[in-house]
C-alpha cells in the first residue's frame, strides 16, 4: 500500500503532508508527556520488530504469500501514540534506506499507514473491548476486528488520495482498493490475532492494559454510539463518493473541464467504466461495506474462540 513518487498531485501531496505532520506531532507530544522513559527505547526496537515481522511469509494459495502490515499489532502492543511514532519510523526507514514508498508521497504514506491505521485500530480495539469485556477471547476478537478495520481505513484513504490526484476515477479506486483490501484485511486480522495470542500466552502484561470495565449503562451508551457511527458512515460514505463527481460536474459547467481534459485524447464520461454505477451505486457500496465488516467480525470471533481455548494442543510455550 506504499504509494511511490509520481502518482499524487501537488495539492494532495501538500494536504496529506500537513495532516500527517499534525498527527505525528500530536503523537510525539503525547509520548514525550505520558510515556515513562523506560518505554522509549521499546518504540525504536518495536519499529525494528515490525520491519522484521513484515518479512515473514504467510502462504496464501498457488505460491503467493501475504505479509503483515503491522499497524494494528503496534497499536495493540504499544498503545496508539507510540504506535504512530514506531510506524512512522518504519515508513521513514523504508523510504530513505530501501526506496520503498516515495519521498514526496511520504506524507500520504505516513497518514495512511502510520496515523489513520493505528488510530482506527486503537479506536475499534477499545470500542470492542469495552463492550465484549475482559478475557482472552474478547481481547483477540477486538484485535482481529481492529486489524481488519485499520486495513480498510488505510486502503480507502489511499484510494481517495489516488482518486483526488486524478490517477483513477473515484468509483474504480474505491471499488478496486476496497474489495482487494477486504480480503487482505482478513489476512491481516488472522495474522495479528495469532501473534497477539502468542504474546498474551507468554507475557500477558505486554498487551495494552485493559480499560476499566464500564458499568452496564455506559456499555449501552457505547453500543448506541457505535450504531450511530455506523449509520453515519452508511449515510455519509456514498455522499463522499459522489461529491467529487459533483465537483467534476461544476467544473464542466464552468468550463474548467475542457482545460483539464485537453491532454487526454478521448474524454469519455467517467461513469461508463465505473463498475458499481449500476441502478443504485450507493446501496451497492453500503451493502458491500456492511457485508465485509460483518464477515470480518465473524471471522475474528471464530478465530478468537479457537485461539482462546483453555489448553491449546500446539502451544507448548
Amino acid at each position: 500500500m506504499h504509494v511511490p513518487d509520481g502518482f499524487l498531485d501537488a495539492r494532495t501531496l501538500a494536504a496529506t503532508a500537513g495532516l500527517a505532520a499534525v498527527g505525528l506531532g500530536l503523537a510525539l507530544r503525547e509520548v514525550r508527556r505520558n510515556l515513562p522513559p523506560r518505554r522509549v527505547p521499546l518504540i525504536g526496537l518495536a519499529a525494528a520488530f515490525v520491519f522484521a515481522a513484515q518479512m515473514l511469509n504467510f502462504p496464501v494459495a498457488a505460491g503467493t504469500s501475504g505479509h503483515l502490515i503491522g499497524a494494528a499489532l503496534a497499536a495493540v502492543l504499544l498503545g496508539p501514540a507510540a504506535a504512530i511514532v514506531a510506524m512512522t519510523a518504519v515508513l521513514l526507514l523504508q523510504a530513505l534506506m530501501f526506496a520503498d514508498g516515495g519521498i514526496t508521497a511520504l506524507g500520504a504514506n505516513v497518514l495512511n499507514l502510520a496515523v489513520i491505521a493505528p488510530l482506527v485500530a486503537h479506536g475499534v480495539y477499545r470500542g470492542v473491548r469495552s463492550i465484549a469485556g475482559e478475557g482472552q477471547q474478547a481481547t483477540l476478537l477486538a484485535t482481529g476486528f481492529a486489524a481488519w478495520c485499520s486495513t480498510m481505513a488505510a486502503a480507502l484513504s489511499c484510494a481517495a488520495q489516488l482518486a483526488a490526484s486524478g490517477v483513477v476515477a473515484w468509483g474504480t479506486a474505491l471499488a478496486a482498493m476496497g474489495s482487494v483490501h477486504m480480503l487482505i484485511g482478513l489476512g491481516e486480522a488472522v495474522i495479528t490475532m495469532l501473534i497477539v495470542a502468542v504474546v498474551m500466552r507468554a507475557r500477558p502484561e505486554l498487551i495494552t492494559p485493559a480499560v476499566p470495565t464500564m458499568p452496564r449503562t455506559h456499555r449501552r451508551a457505547v453500543a448506541y454510539g457505535a450504531a450511530l457511527a455506523i449509520s453515519l458512515m452508511v449515510l455519509v460514505a456514498p455522499f463522499a463518493s459522489s461529491l467529487p463527481d459533483g465537483l467534476e460536474h461544476v467544473a464542466e459547467r464552468f468550463g474548467f473541464a475542457s482545460l483539464a481534459a485537453a491532454s487526454q485524447p478521448a474524454p469519455l464520461p467517467d461513469y461508463t467504466l465505473v463498475p458499481l454505477a449500476g441502478a443504485s451505486p450507493w446501496l451497492a457500496t453500503v451493502l458491500a461495506g456492511a457485508l465485509g465488516a460483518l464477515v470480518a467480525f465473524a471471522v475474528a470471533w471464530f478465530v478468537a474462540r479457537v485461539l482462546a481455548a483453555p489448553v491449546h494442543p500446539t502451544a507448548r510455550r
Partner: protein, 205 residues
C-alpha cells in the same frame, strides 16, 4: 548473498560521489524527486535528460549497477500495480506511461542515494535539521537493531524448520505467528536491557 545485499543497500566506495557530504546528497536527491514529480506529464526530453544524469552519476560513483538494477526491478511491481489502475480510466495510456516514467526515475534517484550514502550519515543530517529528537532516536534504535532482530528471527525459523517435518498451510501460519510473537517478547526484553545500558551511559529522555 541476495538477502544481505537487499538488507544493506550501501556499497562502500571512495569516489567523489561517496565523499560528498550526506546533507548535500540528500538535498540533491530530494530536490530531484520533487522536480520529477512536479514536471508536466509530457516533458519527455527532461525525463530523458534526468535519466542520463542519473546514469552518469552512477558511473562516476562506480556504484554496484547490478545491485541497483535488482533493487529497481524488485520495487517496480508496486509501481506497475498502481499505474495499471490508470489504464482503467478512459484515455489513460499517456497518463500510465508518464506516471511509470516518473516513478521509475524517482526510484532510481533514491536507490542511487542509498547506494552511495550510509543511513547513519542520513540520520545525522536529520538530527542537524532538527527533526524531533524522539523520532531520530527511534530511527537510530530501529536501524541499530534491525539486523539483530532479523537475524534472531532467522535463527528461530531455522530452529523451527529443523524440528518440523510436516508443513501444511495452517501450520505455516501458526509457525510464522509463533516466531513473530516470540520475537516481540524477546524484543521487549531486549528493550529493557537497552534502556538500562542507555541510562548507564548518561541518556536522558
Amino acid at each position: 548473498m541476495l538477502r544481505d545485499r537487499l538488507l544493506s543497500p550501501y556499497r562502500h566506495g571512495s569516489s567523489a560521489v561517496h565523499r560528498l557530504p550526506a546533507g548535500a546528497k540528500l538535498l540533491a536527491a530530494v530536490g530531484c524527486v520533487f522536480l520529477i514529480v512536479l514536471l508536466p506529464r509530457s516533458a519527455w526530453w527532461t525525463y530523458a535528460a534526468i535519466a542520463v544524469g542519473l546514469i552518469a552519476v552512477s558511473l562516476a560513483a562506480r556504484a554496484d549497477l547490478r545491485g541497483m538494477l535488482i533493487r529497481l526491478l524488485l520495487l517496480e511491481p508496486f509501481v506497475l500495480g498502481i499505474a495499471l489502475l490508470a489504464l482503467l480510466k478512459p484515455g489513460g495510456v499517456p497518463l500510465f506511461l508518464s506516471m511509470l516514467t516518473k516513478s521509475t526515475l524517482c526510484l532510481a534517484t533514491m536507490i542511487l542515494l542509498t547506494a552511495t550514502t550510509r543511513f547513519s550519515d542520513l540520520l545525522a543530517v536529520l538530527w542537524r535539521i532538527r527533526v524531533p529528537a524522539l523520532l531520530v532516536t527511534t530511527l537510530a534504535l530501529m536501524h541499530r537493531y534491525l539486523f539483530v532482530l532479523v537475524e534472531e528471527m532467522e535463527r528461530m525459523q531455522r530452529a523451527r524448520r529443523s524440528r518440523t517435518f510436516v508443513a501444511g498451510r495452517t501450520s505455516a501460519w501458526r509457525n510464522s505467528a509463533q516466531v513473530a510473537g516470540q520475537l516481540f517478547v524477546r524484543t521487549s526484553e531486549r528493550a529493557e536491557r537497552v534502556y538500562l545500558a542507555m541510562c548507564a551511559r548518561g541518556w536522558k529522555a
